[in-house]
């Protein structure tokens, strides 16, 4: 198995690295699985569409228009993607800062997932912005919009991506057998996590602040002054919920990569995460209802948009919260998993609503936005590609299993 092999390899120069890397590029499992057969063509078509979009522009490849400047690329890939990647900082905080060691087995997987989410949104943003050849302007341009929320979000987005990379780098260093590097990056753990928490609060809430600037066009049920806070809260439960789903899937699919310790503690971890989600969701929903009541928005409840709001807040908010509580009390994993799926859908729907469903809601139905097929294919293509890389890393690195002895020894010192 690769895990043992890696421990023997010590990479000394670039040639070693490349030959090792090449040998690792070979697929580790059967090639013609149903997932591969479905996802491969989607990825290929998606990549082709990306090139097409960069060449010919947004008008012909998307359904966005001047009434709906943000479609599913921003709403689905970026906004909800960032929310469900929130596990990266919440679990980092829980394990490294508050020292709850029982969540440690899931940590690497979470960081890897969050890291990949961010790495894949960056290209998604690149195709989303209209003048993509100017994408570097906020970072090395001659004009910085320092009082723009988006400027802050963009910077924190990139900084956090780097931070996540550092947080995950011990696993990569172990894979490549780089002892010196492993030692250096291993020492940064707490610092990286603390920085990550700060950066995450900033850009999770910042996305909300962007939305609050559209107050004139957002449905009053969704608009509140506290959108930044709500976005932040919902990322705290959306992230762990997503990790309940992801870890449950990886437990089954990559069972040969999971070590005994993780397998045994998985049920405990899921229950623990469920408890956490239930608590945070309670706070989130409480705030949501209070704000809606306080701003006299409940008068809109008995309208089509009101029903839609209830779908989001009750159907994909209150119900998963109750399921979480029930599942935790009875230690019923499938209930918790179901709750997690609903909760993630709820958080994602919230972002969709803010980006285009509850935006310019007074327009007639036929003028509203619905995604063009190319947008959908690209979205799936990017997601599948991300899953491929996720699988690549899990199959080769110590993601689901304890770090090798030598790395543990380094950490002790």
């Amino acid at each position: 198995m690769s895990a043992e092999k890696t421990e023997k390899v010590e990479i000394k120069n670039l040639r070693d690295f490349w030959s090792f890397f090449w040998s690792e590029l070979k697929p580790k499992g059967p090639i013609f699985t149903p997932f591969n057969i479905i996802s491969a063509p989607v990825i290929v078509i998606g990549l082709a569409l990306i090139v097409y979009r960069l060449a010919i522009g947004l008008g012909d490849t998307t359904n966005m228009n001047n009434d709906f400047p943000w479609g599913i690329w921003k709403g689905a890939i970026v906004m909800s993607g960032i929310a469900i990647a929130g596990g990266g900082y919440t679990l980092g905080f829980v394990v490294y800062i508050t020292g709850m060691e029982r969540f440690r087995p899931i940590l690497r997987e979470t960081v890897l997932f969050a890291f990949l989410c961010y790495v894949f949104y960056a290209p998604a943003l690149l195709i989303e912005i209209g003048r993509w050849w100017n994408f570097q302007n906020p970072f090395i341009g001659y004009e910085f919009g320092v009082s723009s929320v988006l400027f802050i979000v963009a910077w924190h987005f990139v900084l956090y991506m780097i931070t996540l990379g550092i947080e995950f780098s011990p696993a990569a260093a172990e894979w490549l057998g780089m002892k010196r590097v492993r030692k250096i990056v291993g020492a940064t753990a707490v610092g990286a996590v603390a920085l990550g928490v700060m950066l995450s609060i900033h850009h999770q809430a910042g996305l909300g602040a962007l939305i609050s600037m559209g107050h004139a066009k957002l449905h009053p049920l969704w608009y509140t002054e506290f959108i930044p806070g709500l976005f932040f809260f919902s990322s705290i439960f959306a992230g762990p919920s997503m990790m309940i789903i992801v870890s449950s899937v990886t437990q089954k699919v990559f069972s040969n990569r999971v070590d005994e310790e993780y397998r045994k503690s998985h049920a405990d971890i899921v229950v623990g995460l469920g408890k956490m989600c239930a608590g945070v969701m309670f706070a989130y929903l409480f705030l949501t209802f209070i704000l809606a009541h306080h701003e006299h928005d409940l008068q809109y409840i008995n309208t089509p948009m009101g029903y839609w709001w209830l779908t989001e807040v009750v159907g994909l908010g209150l119900i998963p919260m109750l399921l979480f509580i029930n599942g935790v009390q009875n230690r019923n994993l499938s209930t918790i998993q179901l709750a997690a799926i609903l909760a993630v859908m709820g958080a994602a729907l919230n972002r969709f609503n803010c980006a285009f469903i509850a935006y310019n809601w007074f327009l007639p139905l036929e003028a509203r936005y619905s995604p063009y097929w190319m947008e959908v294919v690209v979205t799936f293509g990017i997601t599948f590609l991300m899953i491929w890389i996720f699988r690549f890393a899990i199959n080769r690195m110590h993601v689901l299993s304890r770090q090798p002895e030598w790395a543990a020894a380094i950490d002790k010192h």
């Binding site: 400047p69 003048r131 994408f135 004009e143 320092v146 928490v197 910042g206």
Partner: protein, 311 residues
Amino acid sequence: MDRRTFMKMVGATMAGTAGGTLLTPRTSEAQKAFEQKEFHSILIDTTRCIGCRRCEKACAEANNLPIPDISEQANEAIFEKKRKTSETAYTVTNLYETEKGKVFVPWRCMHCNQPGCRSACLVYAIKKRETGHVTWDANCLGCRLCVYSCPYDLVKWEWYGTIVRLQKCNLCYGRFLKGKLPACVEACPTEALMFGLRRGLLEEGKRRIAQNPGKYIKRIYGEFEVGGTSHLYLSAVPFNQIGLRTDLGVKSVPEYSLVYLSAVPFIAALVPITCFAIARVVRIEKDAIRKELEKKEGEEKKKGEEKEKHK
């Protein structure tokens, strides 16, 4: 607290504060610009507009846009629908049936005093010039947050084509620098549009309201709306009858993001320190527990050994 942790904390504080100040928004900029400068404006008297659409044609000519057909028949057909501005038409004139009969209303970027579009822009591609013009530069990267945040939905993006631009009225900034009037104002045959300093135009508007009792409603649209705008409207009927939103309030769009922006430096400085502090406390606690356990174990071992000896 040992020295290493202390240094770490100091480092974090410094990094946090430095990062905080670096990324701290200069929120008051817009207000400052607004307080000190004399902005230019256009006063639109909707009672004088006859719906000839000459402003639309002149605007298209001045800005290299497709020239509209403004013949009588064309106009009749066009006024059947309420149009919005678009990437090919910076200004549109709409017809409204009101309690006092037909009213024509020219409609284009309001050139807000504190524009939402400008505060949205992460590279300041949109600028509020000292003269009051809201203009666009080519360093824009096309995120379209400006489109999202304009309260009047007047920023238009060019969707078709590879090299795309942002399209909206810029109050003829180029012509202004050459000392010319905005094209629409020049073309208007009835002086429904009037160009000048905002302060003066507000006075002129109030003078017209005072001198023609009963003709106008006693307010100027744009004096306070979303923090004040540079296009000012006079009307004979309530503004919501001629398609102007009256539910927007007087708070400017940038103010909506102020709470978040002012929290940024605090979060940047405080969160990492808090994290380190918690981590430290937890560590001390854990060490104490471990030591206690070890001590207990050691004692038990000793006792056991002693027992063995006694035997």
